[in-house]
């Protein structure tokens, strides 16, 4: 682990307002109690990393944040999750509106089998974010620039998005998520299907995205968590074991389980 890098990064960390306030979140998949008593406050304009061994519930928690778990019939969520003070599991909340504000990038790059332009323009179109073609073009360009993909694809916007390389596809998915102007960006192991160079590009991008969004990233790689995040939450067997600044988690873990995990003894 690059501790020098870590030390350098702490300079940027500063107290930000709370974006997501979660308390006593419980998740059941049928009989299985997948997430137990999770309470965590996620900051705005901060990269928060969720780490932990497989099956610890970190992806489950991430998917609760934009109610993607609604698509799983047996999943049941209780507790409070407040996005800017509004409970996202309130009966009056339409998950479609929520997902426009809380974007998501998935583990495997999953561009639509359409053109690069249509991929990015889809979100703004269905949410009515552009009044005309020129505005839509602007939104698409801005999103692609935001995802550091513009220069690579500007000459072939109308070619298929599935024809790009894996790393480009993942950045296209990020552009697609950014295009709907979300406030929070959820990333579920966004680099696990990418090679090291593409991973580095995406990580760099995540760091830039922090200036506009609250980014929550699930990762299996502790190095990645250390490199990109300011806050880290460690999950183990459905419990949130420890949550704090990335610096503290990796250098001064409070809980013995955290220490065992980051030193490679469990997981």
């Amino acid at each position: 682990m690059n501790n020098m890098y870590l030390a350098e990064r702490t300079v940027h960390t500063q107290a930000q307002p709370i974006k997501f306030r979660c308390s006593d979140v419980q998740v059941w998949y049928g009989e299985k109690h997948a997430l137990k008593d999770v309470s965590v406050d996620l900051q705005d304009k901060t990269v928060t990393a969720f780490i932990g061994p497989s099956g610890c519930g970190k992806s489950t928690f991430l998917r609760c944040l934009n109610r993607m778990n609604d698509t799983i019939p047996v999943a049941r969520v209780t507790g409070q999750m407040l996005l800017d003070g509004d409970d996202i599991y309130d009966r009056r909340v339409d998950p479609v509106q929520l997902r426009a504000r809380v974007g998501m990038v998935f583990q495997k790059p999953n561009p639509f089998p359409k053109s690069i332009y249509d991929n990015v323009a889809y979100g703004p179109k269905i949410h009515g974010l552009a009044r005309n073609k020129a505005e839509l073009d602007g939104v698409v360009e801005q999103a692609l620039r935001g995802a550091a993909l513009w220069d690579e694809v500007k000459d072939r916007l109308h070619e298929s998005g599935t024809g790009l390389s894996g790393g480009q596809q993942q950045r296209l998915c990020i552009a697609r998520a950014v295009a709907t102007a979300p406030e929070v960006l959820l990333m579920d192991e966004p680099c696990s299907a990418l090679d090291p160079i593409a991973t580095a590009q995406v990580e760099e991008l995540i760091d830039e995205l922090r200036e506009q969004f609250s980014v929550v990233i699930v990762t299996h790689s502790m190095q990645q968590a250390a490199r990109v995040s300011q806050k880290t939450a460690f999950f183990h067997l459905g419990h949130l074991v420890e949550y704090g600044s990335t610096d503290d988690i990796f250098t001064r873990p409070q809980d013995p389980r955290t220490e065992s995990y980051i030193s490679g003894r469990i997981g």
Binding site: Q97, L98, R99, M104, F106, Y122, H127, T162, C173
Partner: protein
Amino acid sequence: MTDATSNLPRPVPGAGPQPKSLLTVDARTRRRNAAEKRFRAYGILAIAAAMLALAFLLFTILRDGSSAFFQTYARIPMTIEASVVDPKGNRDPAEMAKTLTTSYNRILQDSLADFIKTNGIAVEGLDDDDLAGFFSGQARADMRWAVLADPSLVGQVIDVPVLTSSRVDGMFKGRVTRESAALDGKTSVAQFDLAMALADSGHLKTRFNWDFITGTDSSDTRPESAGLGVAIIGSAYMMLIVLVLALPIGVATSIYLEEFAPKNRLTDIIEVNISNLAAVPSIVFGILGLAAFINVVGLPRSAPVVGGLVLTLMTLPTIIIATRAALRAVPPSIRDAALGVGASRMQTVFHHVLPLAMPGILTGTIIGLAQALGETAPLMLIGMVAFVTTYPSAPPQGLFDPASALPVQVFNWTQRADPAFFERASGAIIVLLAFMLAMNLLAIFLRRRFERRW
């Protein structure tokens, strides 16, 4: 961990019973390779058997049926005797209509006799019956309609192709030989000789028979004029109804069940029943159609609308199963992607899932349609076996007119005694297969056209 497994036998490198060199093949490997070779041989044998059966089927059908597309016509001058067709001599079509079709046989018979005499064709033992039976019963009817439509023909000599009887036609297709003619009550050796003489002089020609494709069915005694027109229109109308009803209902059902419906006992029961419906014998659907659409709703018998409804019920499970399989084959990551950018369930389905499932849906639909096109049993129960000689009118009214259907027409013709109908039935099968082939090609084309990678 090592304690727990230490008592078990462990594989020791090089301790097996095999020869130590990789260049020699041990018995076990030999047996495995032989088994694989045997399996491949079985596979090739199975494919060869299937191909052979298919080739045999196509060969026999083409051999027996291709002649139905050709028909023998006589081309000799026909004198329209005024004394026969217009006994009152006033050229009034209303009066002339009183002359029955049978009387026109006189014209055909006399014209043929005159022709033989003037051309000096010598045929031994030719009698009036041979002359009268030389032409099709359809020929005199056609001539009557022509004369009634144009009374100026009376007294003229016209030179048009005249349909010959099925026996004369059979003489040029190998069905009737000089030997069989001697034993046949409906023809004779003299008629055979006459036909050969006329053919030699070029007055008897076999040409492509459009009437077989466009014409209507005809009675047992005139197989030479039987055509498939009504059956093709009837089948087309039914396919139209099946497509218009089964595609939207089937696709909507599948989308709801696959993408929206909660997974509970009720939907489980529905699913099992849909699968079971696909296996219900088609004749049961016929009984259902008879009971529901004809007896309860009161729709007419023999009508394409009833046939179409019955075939719709029969095709629905096929389309639903194919569509659900196609929807399920769309990767969940696409749904996640769409939901993730804030698309609603319906937008996800209609913008992303459905377009990707389209090739599968279209293929399933066309396969279902092809199946419905070839279905006979349910149509027999709702009266589509009727003998229909008038074309149904244009839709929508035509959907309620009596019509036949291609497979039913095949069945119908195979029931008839005259050997000429055997040829017709095989010909109808060729037409049916051509339609099937066209539909399958369309399915392949559409699948290629809409196929997309993800």
